[in-house]
């Protein structure tokens, strides 16, 4: 089995740049070093993942997708459903990161195949804590295996 060491790639799907900044800040606070890419809605997320459109031609396959719920054009749930329906994408863990703490949103996300659900808290320190937990649960530091290439070769 070949393993290639490379940075952990996270695709952050978030329409608010300010929100994305806060997430990056929280990662920095927790010393999480990743290759963080951002797109602004569901359509862009899918284009990124499918390597469509000129500027996504060289998009790397993310190791984790952080997905907001409420976005223009294509919302988080819709995007999640599309990802989970594509065989080449469905194995990428998707973690929901939303302002909403409505029970229904969490339940719906998990039902569609989301790996985890985090609410973005009001307090910035709490946000840092949330991202720390998230990182511990979902981010691998250092070398990252590329199982999809291996699987294709076997």
């Amino acid at each position: 089995m070949n393993t290639i060491a490379r940075p952990f790639v996270i695709l952050l799907v978030e329409d608010e740049k300010t929100d994305a900044y806060l997430v990056k800040w929280a990662m920095g606070e927790n010393r999480i070093s990743v290759d963080l890419r951002q797109v602004f809605n569901g359509h862009e997320a899918l284009a990124f993942l499918r390597q469509f459109a000129p500027h996504f031609m060289d998009a790397p396959r993310p190791d984790l997708i952080l997905l907001d719920l409420n976005m223009p054009h294509m919302g988080g749930l819709e995007c999640l459903a599309a990802i989970k329906q594509e065989p080449s994408l469905c194995d990428i863990p998707v973690v929901m990161l939303s302002t909403s703490h409505a029970k229904g949103d969490a339940a719906a996300s998990l039902a569609l195949g989301a790996a985890d659900y985090f609410t973005k808290p009001m307090d910035i320190h709490q946000l840092a804590e949330t991202i720390r937990v998230l990182g511990e649960r979902w981010i691998t530091h250092g070398a990252v295996t590329t199982p999809h290439i291996d699987e294709k070769n076997t």
Binding site: D19, N70, T99, H101, A102, G104, K120, P121, M122, I124
Partner: protein, 1085 residues
């Protein structure tokens, strides 16, 4: 002197010789004149004889035509009818010379045997066809009247078998006209007084069948009416004894050969010497020729008075001598001699009229018209015929003219003129002629011009007329008989409502009127020879035959009802009256029937009878004592219930006084009188006493009953104990009204889902009237939008005897859809068998629409809420987050005051967020939560405690849980939130420094679940309790106690969503609080 003497002698000699010459010429002239007159007379008499023969034969033909008319007017002619007809003609007196009138029937070979049997059955056992032997066609003289003497010999004779007769029969048949045969020897002849004979035939064709063409005539001939004539008898009848001066012979055919001699007026008499006058004439009668040779007899010739001519001669000579003597004697007696000559001439003229008297002897009135001076000699008899004496009528033509009936005058004078002009050899006319008494008699007048001038101008015409009134009357009578018969047949045909028919002894129809033919669906021709078997089913035929036999064999007149096909829809009932038909001899020859269709009447009678039986059954079935009472107060009928209540047998009850059975007979009679005077009594209280002494209190209802004319026959009285029934009826009535007026639709169907009842609300809702709905199934309401499974479930429930409840989307008559809440329950009879289904339905369209509207607005609200929860909180989060980032970045640069400012701003943003979240939660109660379900209350408590535990631990609160925790029907999340909030409040509003004690209790009170959370906290100021549960109402400042001001409002909303209530109890400030929630417990588990 000698010369003078000679002269004197010469003149007388001249006179004498002139006298001789004159006498000779006078005698010759007289002889020629007499001879001419006699020649005229002979010609006249000859024509007269021939005319008489022709006229009479035509009269006979009329008789036969009358008989034929009988066949035309009737469908068939019976022996009796024929006899009556011929008898009425009085042949012997009116038409002497005819041997009889008969009918010869055509018989095809295949019917020969049957025919012989039929005639034998009429009472002629020896009847057979003569001559015997096989022939291709038979005829038989079946009628011949008078049926006696010589005529009996002709009965059954087949005339067609004999060549001479057949020729005449065929001629008649093929021409459709009368014919006469050549000379025959009649079968009537015996050995004595053998005479020549001939026969006259008129063909009779099948009624109603065409006989326009030869083929038709041959096909449809049924026989000939005919008459046999014996020549001598005939001529005697025609001419009587009057002919004594003319001899004539009649020969058959066109030539007078001796073997064809039919008649000789003076047979066997030796004819000495050639007759002075003779003529030979042809007669053509009905296409047949006769030759008549006539000879004058000496008696006729004697009328030429040769003796008188001798007298004229002698007298002339004598007179010449005398004249000469007279002349000689100076012609002294000359005038006397001339007078004498005139007298002689007159005598001669008188002798001319002798023949006229002879004619008068034969019953004719003779006239002689001298056209040149327009005088008419009318004979004495001419005058006497019309009641005048000889001197009452002059000799003008006007005497004739003025007596002719005005209607006949023109024709008569036209005929007369025709003869005068020579256009017709004979003048013939029939006219009515006025008698002295003013009455008219019919005359037959004939005459001829007997002398004309050389250029043809008529000079003299003679003639005679005879009284033919008798013949005319007979003709009229014949026409009347035929017309009567036709009218009678027409009348029968016009009777549409009755069936009139006649049958012969073999039960075969020979007549039926039009309505019968229509019923039988056959024509008159097809009917003949048909029996009942052709028209009726076998059992009816047998029944009809039995009735017919009674009529035909015993002469009964029957009246029977005949039920045809009684058990089928084609059933008809006829009332048949049958009576025998007799011939002239009183023998039954058939029957006449009149039938009327009484099917409808019969049905009506049966309905009435059934109704009567039904009524009787009803009366007997009644548990109420029922009696009828006559006008005299006697019981006329009573039912079993009356027997039971009185203890008296029905036979004894009937005829007894009704009042005897009541405890108070006087009151009973009073009630009876009341019924009589008012027509009824209602609920009249009486007590019936049983034979055993037992008393039954009853209410009497009575009314009079009447016959069909409205006369009171008596009283019908019914006793009843109505209390129970009335109550039941009242209850039923109320129920009925309730159903009728119900705001819910009520539908009752039978087990086949066939609608039997709907209430007015049904009509209101669906638009279908009761009449439209009844008989249909509720499927008429189906919209097609209700899932099939719903109906499957519905029917599986109903057929298993259970009721069903559900909602159906149905369709109104106008096509609108509507929602119904439907309860359907099977209705069972006492035996437990389902007999009907009752559906009670409520139109819930409005509710459904409201619900849908609510769902829609909830969805919108949800959208709104979501927008708040995300879109509003996002910027709030940005505010608080970036304020914090700024604060952190500034770090030590901030002094304490500025740090506080930052914190106020951040806290404010956070509080708004908390309130937003709380509001969202509040608005979602009852909308977003999962549906109510059975949950374990204790499990909910335990989960709530997991959330609240950190807070409890933080303040080291003492929590006690007690009581009975039941299963409840509720929303898990909401109840959990409720418990969390109440316990959370208990922690929040604690008194600092005091150990917080919280008691959670659960119990069932009055079938309700009661949950209480009691604490030892700050308590509630009395009067503030109400404000507690309102949104954003805080009793305390935010500084003192954190909170959104929504917690308890949310609790109240949750309680209310569960149809429960919440309240707070507190002894006062600092004395702790107790919050209680009560929710109904649904069901038992």
């Amino acid at each position: 002197m000698t010369r003078l003497h000679l002269n004197k002698l010469l003149l007388p000699l001249l006179v004498l010789s002139a006298g001789f010459v004159a006498t000779y010429f006078l005698q010759q002239a007289a002889y020629t004149a007499a001879h001419q007159i006699q020649q005229d007379n002979f010609a006249y008499q000859s024509r007269e004889i021939i005319l008489s023969i022709e006229q009479r034969l035509k009269a006979y033909e009329q008789v036969l035509r009358g008989a034929k008319g009988l066949f035309i007017a009737s469908k068939s002619v019976e022996r009796g009818e024929f006899r009556n007809y011929v008898t009425n003609l009085e042949l012997a007196s009116s038409y002497p010379g005819i041997q009889g009138v008969g009918f010869s029937l055509v018989i095809p070979p295949h019917e020969k045997t049957r025919h012989i049997e039929a005639i034998r059955k009429e009472g002629f056992p020896a009847y057979t066809l003569r001559p015997e032997g096989e022939r291709s066609l038979y005829t038989s003289i079946i009628f011949l009247e008078p049926f006696a003497d010589r005529n009996l010999r002709a009965f059954g004779y087949d005339m067609y078998s004999e060549a001479v007769r057949r020729a005449a029969m065929e001629q008649a048949r093929d021409s459709g006209k009368s014919s006469i045969s050549s000379k025959v020897r009649l079968v009537q002849e015996t050995e004595q007084d053998v005479q020549s004979g001939f026969l006259m035939y008129i063909p009779v064709y099948r009624n109603g069948r065409p006989h326009e063409t030869l083929a038709d005539r041959r096909a449809n001939i049924i026989g000939w009416v005919y008459a046999p004539f014996r020549m001598n008898d005939l001529m005697h009848g025609i001419l009587g004894e009057k002919i004594d001066n003319v001899d004539f012979e009649i020969f058959d055919g066109k030539n007078a050969t001796p073997e064809m001699l039919m008649y000789d007026s003076i047979s066997g008499q030796d004819q000495s010497g050639a007759p002075l006058y003779q003529s030979s004439r042809h007669i053509e009668i009905f296409g047949h020729n006769w030759v008549v040779n006539l000879h004058s007899l000496p008696a006729f010739e004697a009328n030429i008075d040769t003796g008188r001519i001798s007298v004229i001669r002698l007298t002339g000579i004598l007179m010449s001598v005398l004249l000469s003597l007279l002349v000689w004697q100076l012609a002294t007696g000359r005038a006397r001699a001339l007078n004498r000559a005139q007298e002689i001439t007159k005598e001669l003229q008188e002798s001319e009229f002798r023949w006229k008297f002879a004619l008068e002897g034969a019953g004719a009135g003779v006239w002689d018209w001298n056209i040149s001076d327009n005088t008419v000699f009318y004979s004495k008899f001419w005058k006497e015929m019309i009641g005048h004496s000889a001197d009452e009528i002059g000799n003008g033509l006007d005497e004739f003219e003025k007596r002719i009936h005005p209607e006949d005058k023109a024709a008569t004078f036209a005929a007369l003129q025709g003869c005068l002009d020579g256009k017709t050899p004979l003048y013939l006319s029939e006219y009515r002629f006025r008698c002295k008494d003013g009455n008219y008699i019919w005359m037959f007048d004939r005459g001829m011009v007997i002398s004309r001038t050389e250029d043809g101008k008529p000079l003299r015409m003679i003639g005679a007329h005879t009284d033919i009134t008798g013949r005319k009357q007979t003709e009229a009578a014949l026409i009347e008989i035929a017309a009567k018969a036709k009218r009678f047949a027409d009348a029968l045909d016009s009777i549409a409502s009755s069936y009139v028919y006649m049958k012969d002894l073999n039960h075969q129809y020979f007549y039926a009127n039009q309505s019968t033919l229509k019923l039988f669906k056959c024509s008159a021709e097809e009917l003949a020879g048909s029996g009942d078997a052709r028209f009726f089913p076998p059992e009816t035929v047998a029944r009809l035959k039995a009735v017919d036999d009674r009529v035909l064999e015993r002469g009964e007149t029957t009246m029977e009802e005949i039920d045809v096909s009684p058990d089928s829809p084609e059933r008809r009932v006829y009332l048949e009256i049958k009576t025998p038909i007799y011939d002239g001899a009183g023998k039954i020859i058939g029957l006449c029937g009149i039938s009327t269709d009484i099917t409808e009447r019969k049905k009506a009678e049966e309905i009435v009878r059934t109704a009567a039986q039904y009524s009787r059954s009803l009366i007997e079935a009644s548990l109420d004592p029922l009696v009828t009472i006559s006008a005299e107060g006697k019981i006329t009928d009573a039912n079993t219930a009356t027997e039971n209540v009185t203890g008296v047998d029905r036979t004894k009850l009937i005829g007894s006084d009704f009042a005897d059975y009541f405890t108070d007979p006087g009151k009973a009679r009073e009630g009876y009188q009341q019924a009589f005077s008012q027509g009824f009594v209602t609920d009249y209280p009486l007590a019936i006493s049983h034979a055993s002494g037992k008393i039954t209190d009853v209410l009497y209802n009575a009314s009079v009953y009447r016959d069909s004319h409205g006369n009171i026959l008596g009283v019908f009285a019914a006793a009843r104990d109505i209390t129970e029934r009335k109550q039941a009826e009242e209850a039923l009535r109320k129920l009925s009204i309730a159903v009728e007026q119900s705001p819910a639709s009520v539908v009752i169907t039978d087990t086949n889902a066939c609608i039997q009842y709907v209430n007015p609300q049904f009509t209101e809702v669906t638009g279908y009237s009761a009449a439209e709905a009844i008989g249909q199934t509720p499927r008429i309401l189906q919209s097609g939008k209700t899932p099939k499974e719903t109906y499957v479930e519905l029917w599986s429930k109903l057929t298993s005897g259970q009721s069903w409840h559900g909602e159906l989307l149905n369709k109104r008559k106008n096509g609108e859809f509507y929602w119904e809440d439907v309860h359907i329950a099977p209705v069972k009879n006492p035996a437990g068998i389902v007999t009907h289904y009752v559906a009670v339905k409520t139109d819930i369209t409005d509710r459904k629409e409201f619900e849908e509207e609510l769902l829609r607005s909830n969805a919108e609200l949800e959208q709104f809420s979501y927008a708040i929860s995300h879109d509003m909180r996002q910027p709030l989060r940005m505010i608080s987050s970036y304020l914090q980032l700024i604060e952190m970045n500034l770090g030590g640069q901030l002094d304490g005051e500025k740090r506080d400012y930052f914190n106020f701003a951040i806290e404010g943003a956070k509080r708004i967020d908390q309130m937003l979240v709380a509001l969202l939660e509040y608005s979602r109660v009852g909308r977003m939560g999962e549906p109510l379900e059975w949950i374990e209350s204790r499990a909910v408590l335990d989960e709530a405690l997991q959330f609240i535990q950190p807070a409890l631990d933080e303040v080291q609160a003492k929590l006690s849980i007690s009581g009975n925790w039941p299963r409840i029907f509720a929303s898990y999340d909401e109840i959990q939130r409720l418990i969390q909030n109440l316990i959370g409040n208990a922690v929040k509003y604690r008194i600092a420094g005091r150990i917080t004690e919280i008691a959670v209790t659960s119990e069932i009170v009055n079938n309700e679940w009661r949950l209480c959370v009691a604490d030892n906290g700050i308590g509630i100021i009395p009067g503030q309790v109400k404000r507690l549960f309102q949104v954003f109402q805080r009793l305390h400042s935010h500084d003192a106690y954190e909170g959104t001001g929504i917690g308890l409002a949310l609790c109240r909303k949750i309680a209310e969503h569960h149809k429960g209530r919440i309240w707070a109890e507190s002894a006062g400030e600092g004395l702790g609080s107790k919050f209680c929630v009560v929710l109904p417990v649904r069901g038992n588990n």
